[in-house]
Amino acid sequence: MAALMPAPAASRLLLSGNEAVARAVWEGGVKVAAAYPGTPATEMMEVVSTYPDIYAEWSVNEKVSLEVAIGAAYAGSRAFCCMKHVGMNVASDALMTLTLTGVIGGLVIAIADDVGLSSSQNEQDSRYWGRFAHVPVMEPADSQEAYEMTLAAFDLSEKFQVPVILRMTTRINHVKSLVTVGERTTHVGAGFKKEPGRFVMVPGNAGKRIPLMFAREEKLREAAEISPLNFIEQGSDKRVGFIASGPAYMHVKESFPGAPVLKLGYSFPVPFEKCRELAAMVEQVVVVEEVEPLVETELKAQGIKVLGKEILPRQGELSPNVLRPAIAKLLGETMPELQSTAALEVFPRPPTMCVACPHLGVYYTLSQVRNISIAGDIGCYTLGAGHPWNALDTCVSMGASMGVALGMDKGRGESDKDKRILAVIGDSTFLHMGMQGLLDIVYNKGNVTVLLLDNRAVGMTGGQDNPGNGRDIYGDDTPRVNFAALVEALGVKKERIHVVDPYQLPVLFRTIREEVKVPEVSVIITDQPCVLVKDYHKLKPFEVIDDKCTGCGNCVDVGCPAIHVTRRGKEVKPSGKEVDLAFVRIESSVCTGCGLCVQPCAPKAIVHHVPVSPIKLVKSCGV
């Protein structure tokens, strides 16, 4: 994306938490910003890349992104790095030593926790990293705070020479609310000064830094005690006082407008004295924090009497409809009857693959191959676990398909002694953390057939660029990875590497069937782009000749959302077996002519669509 003219200072803008952080990153004079995409964090770096005078990058994974930020901060420049919660697991190795060296230029790490799992494989509380690495944590409650705290985090980072974690949640990242923005300040880095005792973390040096880290933590706690980000709001109803952080603060204010509240914005190290101050004001204290009872546990260890997860859930959001009944119960009140009626029963509508998605061909084919176990990975292709394919058996973490497949191969039980083991991984996930796993399969002589689905995009997060498509975050050309050469360099035999067009079902089927029989590692690379990126080109749409459709349902098994069942029926085969029939039509207005459904259609009922009358197309009118 090209740099845009940023909105002038004092503008009041409707911004998501992600957009607000990006604005503050620019205003704060950050020089280097790096990230790997991940919902709900992705837009932070996308928006940072639209600002002028700042270097932004998509890194290959979160650990590398943090290391890039560390280098810039060592050089004295301000640096920013952001990721989703599971990304911090990957980056944590760097963080745990970064805390010993500290930083010169300010370094802020924004971590987006997917509380409620709208798009993640687990739910984690990233505030743990503050405790684990002894670094401060800030928790905004809306976009304005996300903006202000990002700026405050840079100041704190430089004052204490410590990286600062900005802990966000989906309900901050993706909520749009009003933000009053300010001026950009420039920040000139001092340049890197050699200081081996601090920047070369060998045992002798690192050991000396540990006491300094603990001393810093006490100073940080003192700063939290007097920080304006932690404040008490008086209230008339002293039966319960609340200690709340992040979006939970808003829910507390909404639910209990008369209650005293200690709002923790700079929430770690916990300002114990402030908490004691609130506790002295009220009959009992409830800590409202998403997800884990971190503040609660620490307050209890301090001898401060509080309640928390005894009465509140440890999973999901603490919205008013969770808080109100819990507190009513605590106070022995009868909860006013809920106004809401029971939800009406409606079928589930799980996310699907797109019309003409190149993965459709892969999963249709895999669903036709017998006696296989498929280790899957994180991306759009995780949807292959769903209907109609049911062709993905595991999903753990980024890149895990490789190791899990090898483990399945080496750890075969009696019942799967003849099973063929496959691994399915996307291009970006492979580059993120899959390459090492493949090397491990090669090195340890595993018998795994790897399907590397190269769709030239980080699909699930919105089609971001990556080293696999030869474009950087600005859309500029950059060297493109040659996957066939890469896997060969990792040791896969040349004759075991196949590049296949996933829209050619017979070739794909034959290749998979042959390779699973070979008792060594093979890599089948599919090479068609994601339909949502600019590399994709639409073809002439198809339609179904109604008279010719026999209702066999083969095309339905492809799983393309453009295919609709018009009527159902039953047929008794000569063998006496009754089979279900599903007659179909193709929604030609959305079909892009990939031809996948044409191939399994026995009666050749699917033909190119001929418009009855010329349709007047209005270009680029999408809202």
Binding site: K176, P350, K616
Partner: protein, 203 residues
């Protein structure tokens, strides 16, 4: 909290639900309201369920609408409008596109699409106005105008005049040329008229 207006916009990924809600938010802000907009979208780009919450008023705290407190439910698809009925307050109103988008799980025969979503919704006792926004958009020449038709549909059920909302809609198309501005103006008015006609018919 009760002085805030709660509008729930629902549909499926790709229909423009989130954009429509954002335009509604812009209109509320233009009139000096505080506003917060939030979604439960998940992997929404892939044809999943999307529900977008807008709350506006003097001061908005919690961004999401508590079940049973939505003033208006704007539904872009029939079954989805049914799915979120419990969010509506007593006396709230449902404005819905009567057209249906059948998901693969129904095509595969694993689940049934409800036979009469409008009837099911009416059983709950809330006021329902149904119209075929998809056909209206198609008649205007592009299915993508459906989003603007839906915004026109809600225009007379807001605590402010339709003109503010219309100007926020049209602002989005200013840079794309007069022709698109005009088409969207017509789509907006068509949505408004469709709701007006459906309401008149039900009286």
């Amino acid at each position: 909290m009760s002085e805030n207006t709660n509008i729930l916009v629902v549909g499926i990924g790709g229909q423009g639900v989130m954009t429509a809600t954002e335009i509604l938010a812009e209109a509320a802000i233009a009139l000096g309201h505080d506003a917060k907009k939030t979604e439960v979208a998940g992997m929404a780009q892939r044809g999943g369920v999307v529900s977008s919450h807008l709350r506006f008023g003097k001061k908005v705290l919690t961004p999401q609408i508590t079940p049973g407190t939505a003033d208006v439910l704007l539904g872009f698809e029939s079954a989805e409008t049914m799915r979120w009925q419990h969010m509506l307050k007593k006396g709230g109103i449902t404005l819905m596109n009567s057209s249906k988008l059948v998901p693969p799980v129904v095509e595969l025969g694993l689940f049934d699409y409800p036979e009469d979503p409008i009837g099911e919704i009416k059983k709950g006792g809330s006021k329902v106005v149904a119209f075929d926004a998809t056909s209206i958009a198609q008649e205007l020449g592009d299915i993508r105008l459906g989003n603007t038709v839906m915004l026109g549909a809600i225009a007379d059920h807001l605590p402010f005049g339709a003109e503010v909302l219309l100007s926020c809609v049209l602002k989005r198309f200013e840079r794309k040329g007069e022709k698109l501005v005009e088409l969207n103006r017509r789509a907006f008015e068509a949505g408004r008229a469709a709701v007006g006609a459906a309401e008149a018919a039900s009286v």
